[in-house]
């Protein structure tokens, strides 16, 4: 069973994302803040990370940078899943090593699942 870490501060959206991914057979762990994310990234065998950028305590780009600097996570794909979408924000995320940048409001949860499946193939 593939393991996904969801970093999302909005509890409602987090619940919807986690619920959908669990239904699709993924082992889901969640973090609602940057601080919590920094703890959860130490869990073993994370296969993919779904990360928001607007977090209550940390700059999401800093979290992404820290993830990519962590030895055991540098090759783990990170999908930035955010409602920010300025070209400079997308570029910054990709330059920091994000595998993909998806604007939440442009995708259904089914489409998110399809993207995750295609990355994990």
């Amino acid at each position: 069973m593939k393991k996904i870490l969801i970093i999302e501060d909005d509890s409602f959206l987090q619940g919807l994302e986690a619920g959908k991914l669990e239904k699709e057979g993924y082992n889901v762990i969640t973090a609602s803040s940057g601080q919590e994310a920094m703890k959860k990234i130490n869990e073993p065998d994370i296969d993919i990370i779904l990360q928001d950028l607007v977090l209550p305590d940390f700059d999401g780009f800093e979290i992404l940078k820290k993830i990519k600097e962590t030895d055991k996570l540098k090759n783990v794909p990170v999908i930035v899943f955010s409602n920010l979408s300025e070209p400079k924000e997308v570029k910054q995320a990709k330059d920091l090593g994000a595998t993909d940048f998806m604007v939440k409001s442009n995708f259904t949860l089914d489409e998110l699942v399809q993207k995750i499946k295609s990355i994990l193939k």
């Binding site: 409602f12 959206l13 409602n83 300025e86 409001s105 949860l109």
Partner: protein
């Protein structure tokens, strides 16, 4: 000297006001998108039957709510792009861009959607290849995305959208042709106006904010380019964009 100081201060004040406006738009659109995302996902769950079966009446209402939500999302997205294109504090980043490569990337982006709608999306690549042009790549991308998206949106099933580009007298001329609903005579003078939506688009209940072509024209003109369109005799429309190479 006093006059110059006064103008400097006014200029600084305007810059601050502009930055505040941009910040407000950025924060507001982010919050709006968060709410609309939740609604989009929940409505889709109902439509897909993830939370049980709906009656026909319930299904019809939920579908309408979904379309309405998509319309609001579209408006928010278009407002953001418009804000970015008009923001005087963001200077356009002009550099040499391979326009063929850019068009190919965008065609690839829209391929899935065109297949879903059973529309053929074809790029008529020029021979010989044309030189790179001096433009803001991201804003030019927005122009091409808007025109191609419109062509797909306003095409009928099994229709074809053709994208072509050629060099002409120091300019590159891009054309995006569809065989879709066309633009009515009474709408021609208004098609590039802010918030304008053509009557036949509204009649067909096609989602749109009325900002796409206004923003597109804005960007093209910032490049010292031109945008215009022609209705085809056999139906459909061709939009043309001319951009200076240097």
């Amino acid at each position: 000297m006093e006059e110059i100081e006064k103008l400097k201060n006014e200029n600084e004040q305007l810059k601050r006001m502009n930055e505040n406006k941009s910040d407000i738009i950025s924060i507001t659109t982010h919050q709006l998108r968060t709410s609309f995302s939740a609604l989009k996902w929940i409505l889709k769950m109902f439509i897909e039957g993830d939370v049980g079966n709906l009656t026909d009446e319930q299904n019809e209402l939920i579908q309408k709510a979904y379309v309405s939500n998509e319309r609001m999302l579209r408006l928010v997205n278009d407002l953001l792009i418009l804000n970015h294109s008009e923001d005087i504090s963001i200077s356009y980043n002009f550099k040499k861009v391979d326009i063929i490569k850019l068009i190919e990337q965008i065609i690839f982006e829209f391929y899935g959607e065109s297949v879903k709608k059973e529309i053929g999306l074809i790029f008529l690549k020029p021979e010989p290849e044309i030189q790179e042009i001096n433009c803001d790549e991201e804003m030019t991308r927005v122009v091409l995305q808007n025109l191609i998206e419109n062509s797909i949106k306003y095409s009928n099933k099994n229709g074809k959208v053709f994208v072509s580009v050629k060099e002409e007298d120091g300019f590159i001329k891009i054309s995006v042709h569809d065989a879709g609903i066309g633009i009515k005579e009474e709408d021609k003078d208004n098609i590039f106006k802010k918030f304008f939506r053509a009557h036949n688009a509204i009649e067909k209940d096609i989602v749109g904010s009325g900002l796409g072509l206004f923003t597109t024209k804005n960007i093209v003109e910032k490049h010292n380019g031109k945008i215009w369109f022609e209705n085809q005799k056999e139906g459909g429309t061709t939009f043309f964009v001319s951009l200076p190479i240097k």
